[in-house]
């Protein structure tokens, strides 16, 4: 799992590449949480265009980051999720918490 981040003021965009499962979720969690501690993040965007696999461990990671950014008064969105990833996202109901495109 490769993680690339881009921060413009309070907008943090995280580009994920690879497979998102229990094994890789903790690295993503640690990277994002550290950045949210170091600076004020009001908008967290997960770019999933290069994520080829995701299971419920990915949902747990996304829900955890959502709670964190929400507690800081911010919001979160997911973009470029492919068909396979969208199926898991929809099943989780997480699409009711954030914008998914």
């Amino acid at each position: 799992m490769d993680i690339t981040v881009q921060q413009e003021k309070s907008v943090l965009t995280v580009f994920l590449k690879g497979e998102l499962d229990h094994h890789t979720a903790s690295k993503i969690k640690d990277t994002i949480d550290l950045l949210m501690l170091e600076s004020s993040v009001k908008m967290l965007i997960l770019d999933m265009s290069e994520v080829t696999f995701m299971d419920s461990s990915g949902i747990g990671m996304i829900a955890g980051r959502y709670r964190r950014v929400k507690s800081l008064g911010g919001s979160m969105s997911i973009r470029n999720a492919n068909k396979v990833i969208s199926k898991v996202l929809k099943m989780s109901g997480i699409n009711q918490l954030m914008k998914i495109s």
Binding site: D21, D55, S57, I59, V88
Partner: protein, 141 residues
């Protein structure tokens, strides 16, 4: 039903093996010429079962996971077994979003995904001796 092919492997209860297990199952299932969507569903269900064995069955401690695949005409059966702690209350564990480990950011959706991404799904578990998941997935080709 007559089986076409069968394989059985065992591997350590380590999170790196989640990806290994789903790739192995997908490679074996490829003989039945599934669609990409069917294969993606199967990989997701396998990943959930193996992750459960690691986190819940063995509670992130060392252990061995046993996986068996049997191919039939247009169908695969996958059995994933651990010799871990077992599930105290299966009915409760099957409730969507129920998790015994919220502190680990578990979504509680593992069983829901296994159930909805396969055609049949069974849990056998007893406290202290382990959990066995049997899933069947039909391929339309």
């Amino acid at each position: 039903m007559q089986s076409i092919n069968r394989m059985k492997i065992e591997f350590d209860s380590k999170s790196t093996n989640e990806a290994f297990a789903r790739v192995v199952v997908a490679a074996f299932a490829a003989q039945l010429d599934p669609t990409l969507e069917e294969l993606a569903d199967l990989k997701t269900a396998v990943s959930e079962a193996v992750t459960n064995a690691i986190i819940h069955g063995y509670e992130n401690k060392p252990g061995t996971i046993y996986m068996e695949c049997v191919l039939y005409t247009g169908e695969i059966m996958v059995v994933i077994e651990d010799k871990g702690v077992g599930i105290e209350d299966i009915e409760k564990a099957r409730i969507p979003s129920y998790t015994t480990k919220p502190e680990l950011e578990r979504s509680g959706l593992g069983f829901s995904i296994m159930e909805s991404f396969t055609d049949s799904f069974e849990i056998e578990s007893s406290m202290g001796s382990g959990t066995k998941i049997t899933m069947k997935k039909k391929f339309t080709t």
